[in-house]
Symmetry: C2
Subunit: 354 residues, 2 copies
């Protein structure tokens, strides 16, 4: 038997998840993976520099309790035991799928949405089903339907690529209808006006995931967390590696939770850039979906999206061209600095004319 036959069949059959392109730093304008264009809060940088000379020869706190305490206070969560820290919210999503979805079972996601969830199902040897959004990115009631083998439902909210948000009242209806857990992936919630944290308190089957990658400018740090009722956190702790978060990222993430003013300012600044982007793209003839996240989804009624993407790439500007089978395609542009966005949009104008 060759080694290829020794891998679990689920793996041999699956395609890997392809994250957005990551060129070397400094090579042009990067608006393709929804990173924050601004550096993280100075208090976070200082916390990292201090942690560098801390006792790195010792294992970190397995539960990242300093972070849990700070996050509970910052977010108005009843206590630290409602929080599970992870090596990026990617790890939290992996733990959730491993916790609830066995081989041959199923998870559900909306469509078009974050296709990583499909990869996580594939790795498990599980299956996935997609519920198409209705016109205007509305979530159909069928998203709350139950079936025997359905074990987990995942809702990115705000959604990607659309940047749209399902109001908490609608999410509540879905979660009340479901007998399995609902994960509300709030990676972009810091740029929106509503979130579903309150639903976690009302329903043990609602979980919220968050990341520090987007709003806090810490994609390089790998830190995310789950908000769920304490017995859920306790059970998922059994699956995680004993020391899943390192001492430096715990110190940095703890410091970040204290930067409320910084976060409010970043939100104001980036949402202003977003509004200007939307106005100008609309003026250029794009159909622009009003965004609640740090990116804008747009479609041009008469131009070739892929050609625009390629034109930008030739000019050292990376945005995301996304094509969803049986649905359509479009462009997702991350909110950058005003200068980056001006360069990007001016280049798109040239592309439309060429």
């Amino acid at each position: 038997m060759t080694l290829d036959n020794l891998f679990r069949p689920a793996l041999s059959q699956m395609l890997p998840y392809a994250p957005g392109e990551q060129p070397p730093p400094g090579s042009g304008i990067k608006l393709n993976t929804n990173e924050n264009p601004y550096p993280p809060p100075p208090a976070v940088v200082e916390a990292i520099r201090q942690a560098a000379t801390g006792p790195l020869n010792r294992y970190p706190d397995p539960m990242a309790n300093s972070f849990r305490q700070a996050a509970a206070e910052a977010l108005g969560i009843p206590g630290p035991e409602w929080i599970l820290a992870g090596n990026g919210s990617d790890e939290i999503l992996t733990l959730l799928v491993r916790g609830f979805v066995g081989e041959g079972q199923k998870l559900r996601l909306p469509y078009p949405s974050y296709i990583l969830y499909r990869t996580l199902a594939d790795i498990q040897g599980a299956s996935w089903e997609q519920t198409p959004f209705e016109d205007g990115w509305k979530l159909p009631a069928a998203f709350g339907n139950n079936s025997d083998d359905l074990r987990l439902v995942l809702l990115p909210n705000p959604n990607s690529p659309s940047g749209t948000i399902v109001p908490p009242s609608e999410v509540k209806k879905i979660s009340d209808s479901l007998t399995c857990p609902l994960v509300v992936d709030e990676a972009y919630a810091d740029f929106a006006e509503t979130n579903c944290l309150d639903l976690v308190k009302q329903n043990e089957r609602v979980f919220v995931t968050r990341t520090l990658s987007k709003s806090y400018g810490l994609a390089g740090l790998r830190f995310g967390f789950l908000v769920a009722q304490p017995h859920v956190v306790a059970e998922l702790t059994k699956i995680k590696d004993s020391y899943n978060c390192d001492a430096i990222s715990i110190a940095a993430a703890t410091a970040a939770m204290g930067c409320k003013d910084w976060l409010a300012n970043i939100k104001t600044k980036m949402n202003a850039t977003r509004a200007a982007m939307q106005t100008r793209l609309t003026a250029m003839g794009f159909d622009v979906t009003p965004s609640h996240a740090n990116f804008v989804w747009c479609q041009h009624p008469s131009s070739n999206h892929k050609a625009i993407y390629e034109y930008l790439k030739q000019n050292q500007i990376l945005i995301r061209y996304m094509q969803f089978p049986d649905w359509g395609d479009g462009l997702r542009i991350s909110v950058g600095t005003d200068e980056q966005i001006d360069t990007c949009l001016s280049t798109i104008e040239r592309a439309l004319k060429s």
Copy 2:
């Protein structure tokens, strides 16, 4: 249905892995989790401080290529594509079990050994079987036997709790006999005189795992790696989170790979302390197993091991009391500084007299 019934049954039934106690830093002498008593190389600390002001708002290199290049050079591995970086070797072990062992399948480990492997099987809904070491911590030929459902064999080498090592020639015999992959967990190999890296080049079914936690004094950083043939690394990459290592730990681990003289000095110093520990424990009447790792396993023919552990704990000294059902118990003492070890052993002397 309550939420408890919604977790995968494998999880509800399993007991969590219990790592060694982690009291707050600075509270006594800690010799229970085989951490390095010395801080990491100064070049690593400097790399972290520099990375703190790097582009943390950007995602890290998904494959940690700077580290892979440096590690390949430092270890004489054919190229970076033979290395997979992980968030601690714990993550690498998790990926290996997820890659090869499906629900209802089996992994094998020696006994007594690193019981985390059992937890990893439990999480998968897989089973595990233990092959007892023979007298003198020799590995029986049966460790290389095959069976239909056996999908992965794990060998910590040097082993814990014993600190013993199976020579590469013996490991080769086992791996030649096995039709499934053999993972040689070399967490402690930097303290030994031999390792199995060469076997990886000879056999696509031999994988070696390493960690920076022990020898490099970087338990707090969470960085480990796999050495395997390139097609194995490529397939396992499909399972890992896209950005499983953060920018700071990549920079730190890359710097560590350049610290060959520092590593040689630490090995000389700690192995000298280990030799002195072994001599003194033997003089105190312990049966001491000659160690090839940064800890010493010892058993006293007439004293109560647990009572010694408790006595030390009352004196703010933590060592590991380990009890293996159907086998026996003993004490595992990490190599500390000479001063820490002197205090620890003097306290054990008092415990023996009390």
